[in-house]
């Protein structure tokens, strides 16, 4: 357990010192959210209606933007080779790296998104549901992104391929995330959607380490 924490700590330190990761993602998120009202026009009612959807799509794209870097550097400098020779199963290494990505990129984005909602006229009543849904959904986003990153780790310019591979897996998160983020939802709808989001996160938690580790192993061979 300690060595998994050591790995997460190292990845967080690296992403903080190198910048790039969360900085790029946040910058991209901000760009989308700033440009959107300008593109759509000053219709406040329309903006308020599409605000949760726009924020969710911006979140998905920002996470995808940083996804291809999850395993890339460790693959290129041979660190992954050594990690397969460690005392823990390689699946745990893959999981630790996905968790580090969540902590360093997806979670900060999910926290910032509701705050940036005022730019797209997000209703005040929708801020809390959106924040909760995004915090929960972002777990699945990072775990699923790790699969895409692992499958394309040996490819140059794999970023686009990651997006295409992961996109279908992101659709359920988007659908249920959005229905959990509505301000004046029918009673029970928010809870049900949050439960399904939690279920998606749990399934990803099981599948992602297995799939990522298998993909990475086949590249190392």
């Amino acid at each position: 357990m300690n060595l998994i924490l050591a790995l997460i700590r190292r990845d967080l330190t690296l992403s903080m010192r190198q910048g790039g990761g969360v900085g790029t993602a946040l910058g991209f998120f901000l760009t989308v959210v700033v440009l959107l009202p300008i593109g759509i026009g000053p219709d406040q009612a329309l903006l308020a209606r599409i605000a949760p959807g726009a924020l969710w799509i911006a979140l998905l794209l920002s996470v995808l933007l940083s996804a291809d870097r999850i395993f890339q550097q460790d693959y290129e400098d041979g660190s992954l080779d050594i990690m397969t020779m460690g005392p823990v199963p390689f699946e745990m290494v893959a999981l630790a790296k996905a968790v580090a990505h969540w902590l360093s990129t997806s979670l900060p984005l999910a926290i910032a998104a509701p705050l940036l909602g005022f730019l797209v006229n997000l209703e005040p009543a929708a801020i809390l549901p959106l924040a909760v849904a995004m915090a929960l959904g972002s777990i699945a986003l990072s775990l699923l992104a790790a699969i895409g990153a692992a499958v394309t780790v040996g490819l140059r310019r794999g970023g686009l391929l990651v997006s295409i591979l992961v996109l279908p897996l992101y659709v359920p998160v988007l659908i249920f995330g959005l229905s959990a983020s509505q301000a004046n939802a029918a009673p029970g709808l928010t809870t049900a959607s949050l439960l399904i989001l939690a279920a998606i996160a749990l399934v990803s938690l099981v599948v992602s380490p297995l799939a990522s580790a298998a993909a990475l192993r086949s590249y190392l061979k």
């Binding site: 300690n2 050591a6 790995l7 190292r10 330190t13 190198q18 080779d81 050594i82």
Partner: protein, 199 residues
């Protein structure tokens, strides 16, 4: 304890790199792998390390720990150094200590004369210094089998002498070393295996 590899055959991209390579190594022995470029020296090391799969043949570490795979009892030093530029020299080693378990970072740094550079960002190291940092990792965590791929590339004379001492200590402690190299290691190997001439 004995490392036994029997009739290993390695195929990369549809080409047979080597076939029917066997070797046996006992504690305290150093095996030097030689052979022209592309003869499969690195492939053989990765195969023993469990990083690649053999098309045929088997590798086993008789008398080793039954619960651990060979890869968990071996160190593998590749061409590229798993060194993170954004971390300091000591932080790089401290991570591997935590991840692989055990060892004293200061002592390992001292072995390769890196103590002065401990708080220096690893990204600013020269090629030879990075190599020393990569080699410090194998001193840090004791493991019985060392698989070294061109370990002496980039080392200056003083570092080479330190490396020879480190190898001597590993062998005296009952360790085993397989080193793939074209240049003399600074120590007469107990055995040689020429992959260019392997049957």
């Amino acid at each position: 304890m004995e490392l036994n590899a029997k009739d290993l055959t390695c195929e990369r991209g549809g080409r047979i790199v080597f076939r029917n390579v066997s070797l046996a190594l006992r504690p305290g022995q150093l095996l030097q792998l030689t052979g022209p470029n592309g003869s499969g020296k690195s492939s053989l090391l990765r195969l023993i390390a469990g990083l690649n799969e053999a098309q045929a043949g088997s590798v086993e570490l008789a008398g080793g720990s039954e619960d651990l795979a060979i890869s968990q009892q071996a160190h593998y030093v590749a061409h590229q150094e798993p060194v993170k530029s954004a971390l300091s020299v000591a932080e790089n080693l401290a991570f591997w200590r935590d991840f692989l378990g055990g060892g004293d970072v200061d002592e390992a740094l001292d072995t390769f004369d890196l103590s002065r550079l401990a708080s220096y960002p690893a990204g600013l190291l020269s090629a030879g210094q990075k190599r020393r940092l990569a080699l410090a990792r194998i001193v840090l965590v004791p493991r019985v089998l060392w698989l070294l791929d061109e370990p002496t590339v980039g080392l200056d004379t003083a570092s080479l002498e330190r490396f020879v001492k480190v190898m001597a200590r590993q062998l005296d402690d009952g360790g085993m070393i397989i080193a793939a190299t074209h240049v003399p290691l600074g120590r007469e190997p107990d055995m040689r295996l020429d992959l260019g001439r392997a049957p």
